[in-house]
């Protein structure tokens, strides 16, 4: 890859090898006066990621200095994210980096896309307009994407190869990039180095805190079952009436309840009226979904719920959201807003 491309896609292995070859130690990156612009850009990367959109520069061939700044700003941004080591920030950052790459990748050549794919161990072939990849690679990349169009059944596949348009391939790479960046964080930064970045870190921390306050992130405080989406209410009603739930709905209900903050015990109690209730088995399943094996499962999106016939009684709010958790989150927000309005009225 050209240096310009390495600067635009700094997460590829070739870019990190190149940076290594330049011999900029982390110490130098943090302290060298000559690299002030890389630090400023690195800080911007993180701040922009919180707003959801990292802006990528465009270069001309003579921009060598700018290219280097852009390239080095990436390891600096990772140092900053690692020093703060906040899950919300890390996720936002990985997502924004990946999204920004997607916007560029859409316009790149098929060959560059194929080359980038190889960095993620995907061997694709290209024809004039499309890329072809093995279905196992496709599934690994596409399985986090929940919209129906990404289902394998809605793809063109012949003899094990999935044929995919450039833009779609770029979207799949976005997912792979996000995962790589996320899994690579936090890096181990010695405390004294974080200390040297304190000015940059303070700026980010302030914005992060403000954002968290605005969105009330940090989990739901207490579970308010009056605010559950209709599908979950329906499922709970069924369980109470002794109707057995389909496996997919059991999973949806349990993962939802765990996600909004119910304890395993509380969820077990909810199932306690099932006709085939087996406490030990139920507890095991719920603990599994709640993350006893290492992965906490997120509840399925609305489109998945629809696919499996589990979307029941959708209301007006459902039309505006894509995920049962968003429904709950919005309702909690509405309730809080209305509550504070009432308080204001009373005060008046």
């Amino acid at each position: 890859m050209e240096n310009i491309e390495l600067a635009l896609y700094p997460f590829v292995s070739e870019a990190s090898r190149y940076v290594d070859s330049l011999n900029f130690s982390p110490d130098r990156l943090i302290t060298s006066r000559a690299l002030e612009s890389a630090r400023i850009r690195g800080t911007d990367r993180v701040i922009q990621s919180l707003a959801g959109n990292i802006e990528k520069p465009s270069f001309v061939a003579s921009d060598e200095g700018k290219v280097l700044t852009e390239l080095l700003s990436y390891p600096f941004a990772r140092i900053l994210v690692s020093c703060i080591d906040d899950q919300y920030l890390t996720r936002r950052y990985a997502l924004a980096e990946a999204k920004a790459s997607y916007e560029l990748l859409k316009k790149e050549s098929l060959d560059l896309l194929r080359y980038l794919g190889e960095d993620f161990s995907i061997s694709a072939t290209t024809d004039d307009t499309h890329l072809n990849l093995h279905f196992t690679d496709y599934l690994k990349l596409a399985s986090p994407l929940k919209e129906l169009e990404w289902k394998l059944v809605n793809r063109r596949m012949d003899h094990g190869h999935v044929r995919i348009a450039k833009e779609n391939y770029a979207r799949l790479l976005q997912e792979a990039i996000r995962k790589r960046i996320l899994n690579g964080l936090p890096i181990n930064v010695p405390p004294h180095m974080c200390g040297q970045c304190e000015d940059n870190l303070t700026v980010i921390r302030d914005i992060l805190q403000k954002q968290k306050d605005d969105f009330d992130i940090g989990g739901f405080r207490e579970v308010d079952n009056e605010l559950f989406p209709p599908c979950i209410v329906h499922a709970i009603g069924n369980v109470r009436n002794g109707i057995n739930l389909a496996h997919s709905m059991r999973f949806a209900k349990t993962s939802f309840l765990v996600a909004v903050g119910m304890s395993v015990n509380e969820v077990v109690d909810l199932f306690n009226v099932s006709p085939d209730f087996d406490e030990e088995k139920t507890r095991y399943q719920i603990e599994h979904i709640a993350g006893s094996s290492g992965t906490q499962y997120t509840p399925p999106s609305c489109s998945t719920m629809k696919t499996y016939g589990n979307c029941q009684g959708a209301d007006e709010l459902c039309k505006r959201i894509q995920h049962p958790l968003t429904y709950y989150r919005r309702k909690v927000w509405f309730k809080k807003r209305d509550g504070s309005r009432n308080t204001i009225k009373k005060d008046a």
Binding site: E149, N154, M157, H159
Partner: protein, 426 residues
């Protein structure tokens, strides 16, 4: 033959954690009666042992990385699984079968670093074959006789095989096709490319073959067609080409074969005009078109503009029909479970006494389990039938009433395994 619903025990036992697991006794295990007397157990064990002394067992690749599980006759009617076993060599495995004579034998679809570790976490999962289970229980439709049920599930198996070979491009020698000994078929895909697929990814494969979540617009899409002077431009349904392969190709083949069949029939006009938006004139033109090989050649290439203008949703309707009729019904949880135990090909199914039979893919169509998976002899055996029972085996319809009687060994063993009879006369 009377209608008899026969349900041998489940083809899989899925146990997530305990060393021993008791399968609920309703209708599973050995046939669902609550007794199997000592004499019957001894007899069955003896017969199974004779079989295992000279049986050809199909051992899974990387034998030493597999976990094994067995259910023995001794604790019946309770079905207690002894699992977390491992074998270092084929000889060890065969010796175990001959010595212990299990009623049911299973190996893991997974490869483990420590297959005999006492719990799943410590086994260190390294990958798993991709498995499909087609079970008569999971097919839509009314209960049928055992023989009809097995024919029905074989059709599904053939559909699945088509998906595996043509859509997924799996090489013939990477597909192990097995009759389960009970109500269906198992397919083991043994290939490094599928080994590390996770559950969600395997579920996507199930959704593909069963057409779940299929969205017509991704395949059929509407194509805008410019109108002639004075006519409005129309939206005609897009049409897939056979060459595209996969679902589009399958839909193309289905629609063309459906319409070719219909247009050959005497009441073709009636059938066609039953589709919304098709009048007699269009119907006649369609019939002409489908009697013209050149037109059909165009259609195969996805070119429907050669047809008379059709202002009907006929292609949409037929495409959904194609998805319904050509999809394969596989049991999703089995494929998604990457730690499952599956029956050992070449072993006997203790709920039927039939062989878990390895098949050549090309022979599947002509495979008749009720003859071809039978391993025991014609020799007469005396047994006491507990409840009336009917089954079609070795090309003969057997219907037995309660009481003491003689039956060929294979049928006697079948009835005993099913829990419908005890050995001897009292």
């Amino acid at each position: 033959m009377k209608e008899v619903i026969i349900k041998p025990c489940p083809s899989y036992i899925n146990m997530k954690r305990s060393i021993q697991h008791i399968i609920p006794s309703t209708g599973v295990g050995v046939g669902g009666h609550d007794k199997m007397n000592q004499k019957t157990k001894r007899f069955l064990k003896l017969k199974f042992q004779e079989y295992y002394n000279s049986a050809s067992i199909h051992l899974p690749p990387e034998l030493a990385s597999r976990e094994w599980g067995f259910i023995s006759f001794d604790q019946m009617p309770e079905t207690i699984m002894r699992r977390h076993k491992s074998f270092g060599s084929p000889g060890e495995m065969r010796d175990y079968l001959s010595a212990m004579v299990p009623a049911h034998a299973y190996h893991s679809v997974a490869y483990y670093e420590y297959p005999n570790a006492p719990n799943m976490k410590e086994k260190h999962w390294q990958g798993a074959d991709l498995i499909f289970d087609l079970d008569a229980d999971h097919l839509p439709g009314a209960p049928e006789s055992y023989a009809d049920m097995l024919e029905h599930v074989k059709e599904e198996a053939l559909k699945l095989l088509d998906f595996l070979i043509n859509d997924f491009g799996i090489a013939d020698n990477n597909i192990t096709t097995v009759f389960s000994g009970g109500r269906g078929y198992h397919f083991h895909i043994i290939n490094s490319s599928v080994r590390t697929l996770e559950s969600a990814e395997r579920r996507e494969i199930v959704d593909y073959v069963s057409g779940r979540g299929f969205d017509m617009k991704h395949i059929l899409g509407k194509k805008h067609v410019g109108g002639d002077a004075g006519r409005e431009s129309a939206q005609v349904p897009g049409f897939p080409s056979e060459e595209e392969g996969g679902w589009p190709g399958r839909i193309n083949r289905y629609i063309i074969s459906y319409l070719s069949d219909v247009t050959d029939q005497e009441n073709a006009i009636k059938i066609l005009t039953d589709f919304e938006g098709i009048g007699k004139i269009t119907a006649k033109r369609l019939i002409e078109a489908f009697n013209d090989p050149k037109m059909i050649a165009h259609m195969k290439k996805g070119n429907v503009s050669v047809l008379p203008t059709i202002r009907s949703n006929i292609f949409d309707v037929l495409a959904s029909q194609a998805v319904d009729r050509t999809s394969a019904h596989v049991d999703e949880p089995v494929t998604a479970d990457i730690k499952r135990l599956i029956r050992l090909p070449g072993s006997l199914h203790g709920g039927s006494g039939m062989r878990v039979t390895l098949l050549d893919n090309s022979k599947l169509e002509d495979f008749y389990p009720l003859s071809d998976a039978v391993v025991f002899s014609e020799k007469a055996v005396q047994l006491k039938v507990i409840r009336p029972f009917g089954v079609e085996m070795m090309g003969k319809e057997l219907y037995v009433e309660e009481g003491v009687q003689q039956l060929p060994e294979y049928a006697a063993i079948y009835l005993m395994c099913r829990g419908a009879a005890e050995y001897g006369s009292y």
